[in-house]
């Protein structure tokens, strides 16, 4: 599936393995919700409603099962292969997504602020996200799920370098 070459250069570094655990946990939580909704659908909605109901009664559980299997058994590892990041001499470069992928490149000279955020699950796994903001609402780079200490060092480093080479052109 990923045999076609990337349209642009891929960032060099991958995320820590614990990110897989985090994505797996997220997927399991979502799967639990999906299962609960499907069960509720089967239990509460009578099947003699007519219309498309008989069809939906078997189609929805199958779709939900496929979704659960893919998101739990495949997606976390797949995402770990896709998610990449790199800080070069003058830019931040990331790749995110899984079926649809996004490469983002922002030069250090155009960085305005750098944030480190830690969600609830991220704290459990000792991870953090580095968010790099520019003057553009669409030019935000997020480096997901770095180890917390690493995230902090990256953020400090970027903020310090941005301060030095800030470009007022924007």
């Amino acid at each position: 599936m990923t045999t076609a070459p990337s349209p642009v250069r891929d960032p060099a570094w991958s995320l820590p393995r614990s990110a897989i655990g985090l994505w797996l946990t997220e997927s399991l939580i979502n799967a639990a919700i999906t299962v609960a909704v499907v069960v509720a659908l089967l239990v509460w909605i009578p099947d003699d409603l007519g219309g498309p109901m008989p069809f939906l009664r078997w189609a929805v559980p199958i779709a939900a099962a496929v979704d659960v299997v893919v998101t739990v058994a495949v997606r976390p590892w797949f995402k770990h292969r896709v998610y990449r990041w790199e800080i070069t001499a003058d830019a931040v470069h990331t790749r995110t997504g899984w079926l649809s992928q996004t490469w983002t490149l922002v030069p250090v000279s155009r960085i305005q602020t750098v944030d480190v955020t830690r969600g609830l699950l991220q704290q459990v796994f000792g991870l953090a996200t580095v968010a790099v903001f520019t003057a553009s609402s669409q030019g935000t780079v997020r480096i997901w799920h770095l180890e917390h200490g690493m995230a902090q060092r990256v953020a400090d480093d970027l903020a310090a370098r941005a301060e030095r080479v800030r470009d007022q052109a924007t």
């Binding site: 642009v8 891929d10 490149l105 003057a135 669409q138 030019g139």
Partner: protein, 502 residues
């Protein structure tokens, strides 16, 4: 710090305007309504009269209070605005953070010879996205408004170039004025073809019907709508409605754009417009990063276009950035080329992009058709099937049209991307405007060898997309359309990289 310059006040005449428009009193409405409901509206006419008098008095009192508590001061380094009925607030905006000044004269203000100044300021430091702030100085005489505007803007340029500190009070006598565009009233005829102006009469109708809904049934005169049953009658009603819509659009466009004029004065572009409310907007040329030339499907029929400046750090950019609200295409293109170098004709996107546009345009119709087919087979209900077929058929020209719009081009100092069909927009941007690239590739795009590149800019919408380019051209386009840092997007033969940052 104040020293010799005393704080200035707005004109007391503004109290009249604010009383009439209930500007300050308006905010009490949410509290007044429940109170009224609790007390009840027992009596007849006299209660109503009393109420009107009371409300006017409240409005007068609040307007007076807020006039009394409001003062401003344009010092050499900052503009200070002090206000607040109960809690005082003092806002100090350094002049070097001021991005523009807009002078407005709404109808009532014009009646008493006053104007309103909006001073657009960058918020301090942080994320910078949508955090722009505005100082409002409402109700100064026209001459004082002009003085304040030039004082604020010239002290800003002075702080940028301190060597000219001497001629502070005399704003350079012979500021060359050069006209960039002047609105021709014939252009108003384009208005019915522009979605935005068509919305004006529709919005008016909507507001009216809401008011009518609010009025209790008994109070409305009992008008029986003329009964329309013959097909001729229907056609007549539709025709009249269309004419009214068109006239409404023209009137709406006239109110907003009356005597529009764009001139360059020193380092700024000044746009003046408006029939009832005269608006006077000033944009720094240095902050213009690009222009967007929009020509929707309707406008293309008439050969019309609209030009918007893509200006960094401009609050409410859609309205304020307008450089040519409506005009002939040639004029729009000439104006755009005058502000940002034209990067040359657009390169069309590969054939795979056409396939993708077509598939996406027909997909919804096909889905409806499939559902319709199921319904026809199971329940014998065919209208959905027909709708689906029609939608699918309409999707074909739409997809082709959307493909025909796609294009990109790069020049020595600028680049352009175009996208859209119903609302088509070509953005021409300077290379230095790009603050980042976002390359997107869905699974389908990957299979088709396509990718989309979004140029992130700190102006306009924030990002301009080159949709469905050939995947292997993306890196070269990014390099050609921005500064050298983008070369890192060029795929290199895989080499051993240093493993980690820290």
């Amino acid at each position: 710090m104040t020293g010799p310059v005393p704080a200035r006040r707005t004109s007391p005449r503004i109290v009249l305007v604010h009383t009439a428009t209930f500007r300050q009193a308006r905010r009490f409405v949410p509290y007044a309504l429940p109170a009224l409901a609790a007390v009840g509206l027992g009596g007849g006419r006299w209660t109503v009269v009393g109420l009107v008098v009371a409300i006017t008095l409240v409005s007068l009192a609040t307007a007076t209070l807020s006039w009394w508590r409001f003062s401003y001061l344009d010092g050499p380094g900052a503009v200070v605005v002090t206000r607040g009925l109960v809690s005082r607030s003092v806002r100090t905006v350094p002049t070097d953070r001021i991005r523009g000044v807009e002078v407005e004269a709404p109808p009532l203000h014009r009646l008493v010879g006053l104007v309103r100044l909006r001073i657009d300021a960058a918020a301090g430091g942080s994320a910078g996205v949508g955090k722009d702030e505005e100082l409002l100085i409402d109700g100064v005489p026209r001459a004082e408004g002009d003085r304040l505007r030039t004082a604020v803007l010239s002290s800003r340029s002075r702080s940028a170039a301190p060597e000219h500190a001497e001629d502070a009070e005399t704003p350079s006598p012979e500021e060359t004025e050069e006209e960039f565009a002047r609105f021709d009233n014939r252009w108003l005829l384009y208005a019915p073809l522009v979605g935005g102006y068509l919305a004006v009469p529709l919005a008016a109708v909507g507001a009216l019907s809401r008011v009518v809904d609010e009025v209790p049934d008994g109070a409305l005169p009992d008008v029986d709508g003329p009964t329309v049953d013959s097909p001729g009658g229907v056609i007549a009603v539709v025709a009249v409605a269309l004419v009214l819509l068109a006239v409404g659009a023209v009137i709406g466009a006239a109110i907003v754009n009356w005597r529009f004029r764009l001139v360059r004065r020193g380092g700024s572009l000044v746009a003046v417009r408006g029939l009832l409310t005269r608006r006077h907007t000033e944009l720094e040329i240095d902050r213009i990063r690009g222009v967007a030339v929009a020509d929707g499907a309707g406008m293309r029929l008439a050969g019309a276009a609209r030009v918007t400046g893509l200006v960094t750090g401009l609050g409410d950019a859609q309205r304020r950035g307008q450089l040519l609200p409506l005009g002939p295409r040639a004029q729009a293109e000439a104006l755009a080329a005058r502000l940002v170098e034209d990067p040359g004709p657009l390169t069309p996107h590969p054939a795979a992009a056409r396939r993708r546009r077509l598939v996406r345009a027909v997909a919804a119709g096909l889905l409806v058709t499939a559902a319709g087919a199921v319904l026809t087979a199971t329940a014998g209900w065919w209208p959905l099937l027909l709708t689906g077929v029609v939608l699918t058929a309409l999707g074909v020209p739409l997809g082709l049209g959307r493909y025909a719009s796609l294009g990109h081009s790069t020049g020595p100092r600028s680049f352009a991307v175009r996208v859209g069909w119903l609302v088509r927009e070509r953005a021409v941007l300077e290379r230095r405007a790009v603050v980042g690239w976002q390359v997107k590739q869905s699974w389908f795009q990957r299979r088709a060898g396509l990718a989309s590149a979004v140029a992130c800019v700190g102006a306009g919408r924030g990002g301009y997309i080159a949709l469905d380019m050939a995947a292997d051209e993306v890196a070269a386009f990014a390099v050609a359309a921005s500064e050298p840092w983008a070369e890192q997007l060029v795929p290199a033969p895989p080499t051993a990289e240093h493993p980690r940052a820290g």
